[in-house]
Amino acid sequence: MTHASVFRGSHKCTTMRSNSRPCGQTTPLASRCYSHAKVETDEEFDARWVTYFSKPDIDAWELKKGMNTLIGYDLVPEPKILDSALRACRRLNDLASAIRILEAVKDKSGPHKDIYPYLIQELQPTLIELGISTPEDLGMDKL
């Protein structure tokens, strides 16, 4: 459950982000009939996004753009990316967006109902520290 590749390519798997290829290779370099571009590893992807949201003077537009792009990918973001995004919300004094992000990742999990509780569990220290209530706490997960 803790490996990043678990969250990648949900029921509509379209990307081959994980390290295990059909040919059994584990290097990031392409082989066989794939293009010769270097494929980003999961760790590089995560690090890139954590860095994006960690920008100290991130502005509201960048937060919006980052989140909307991230949600557009065929994956559920790792807790560390979400932690970085929530802290960006705190810097922008935007509690509503923080709650919205939690709703969005719950929706991204789709039929995999065990992903969201795991994320909340991992984010618990941050949620407590920043004082972010989950949608469930606020009763907003019901109609």
């Binding site: 937060l63 919006k64 989140m67 909307n68 949600i71 557009g72 705190r90 004094n93 935007d94 509690l95 509503a96 967006s97 709650i99 919205r100 992000i101 709703e103 969005a104 719950k106 929706d107 920043l130 004082g131 972010i132 209530s133 949608p135 706490d137 606020l138 009763g139 907003m140 997960d141 019901k142 109609l143």
Partner: protein
């Protein structure tokens, strides 16, 4: 992709990808979503709000004209969020967003309209077909009559039409009946 609209406030499901736009007036900015301009047009050059599952943070907040209570709440938001009560947090969310995700995903009764409309059209078509059969079609050819048909069958058997596997093969010539 245009579905039947029953109420103006209906939010489309993800499949139809409809956009709920918060109408803003170009002059003095009125309160969030109650007041419509005469022509009901939206200024597309301004950032718009929409509830979309794949766009968690729209271009602008839902309510951007804040009264004094909202403003003081926004001020409080700048401090530690642990100091906010649940109601205040919900209020802050509702200032920025219209529908929550469960509200966006709520099922609608639209399918009943669609199926009902389908059946209505089937019914109307049925009436048209019936009227047509009665008033438009010419009389049936005389070859459709009972007597003619019987004579026709007898003739076909006499000619032994398809005697191996077809028509006459089903007729028992000895006992003069169908097999």
């Amino acid at each position: 992709m245009c579905m039947l609209h029953l109420t103006t406030g209906r939010v489309g499901c993800l499949l139809s990808k409809q956009v709920v736009v918060a109408l803003t007036s170009s002059g003095a900015r009125m309160s969030s979503h109650g007041h419509h301009e005469v022509s009901d047009s939206v200024d597309m050059s301004q950032p718009m709000y929409w509830d979309r599952l794949d766009t968690p943070l729209p271009d602008r907040p839902w309510k951007d004209v804040l009264d004094s209570t909202d403003k003081s709440l926004k001020q409080k938001e700048k401090g530690p969020w642990t100091a906010l009560s649940k109601e205040e947090k919900i209020a802050l969310y509702r200032l920025k967003f219209n529908h929550t995700y469960p509200e966006m995903k709520r099922p609608s009764h639209e399918w009943k309209t669609v199926i009902g409309g389908m059946f209505i059209f089937f019914g109307i078509t049925g009436l048209v077909v019936f009227w047509q059969g009665h008033y438009v079609y010419p009389p049936q050819p005389h070859t459709f009559g009972e007597e003619w048909q019987a004579k026709q069958v007898q003739r076909m058997l006499d000619m032994q039409i398809n005697p191996i596997e077809g028509f006459s093969a089903q007729w028992d010539y000895k006992n003069k009946q169908w097999k």
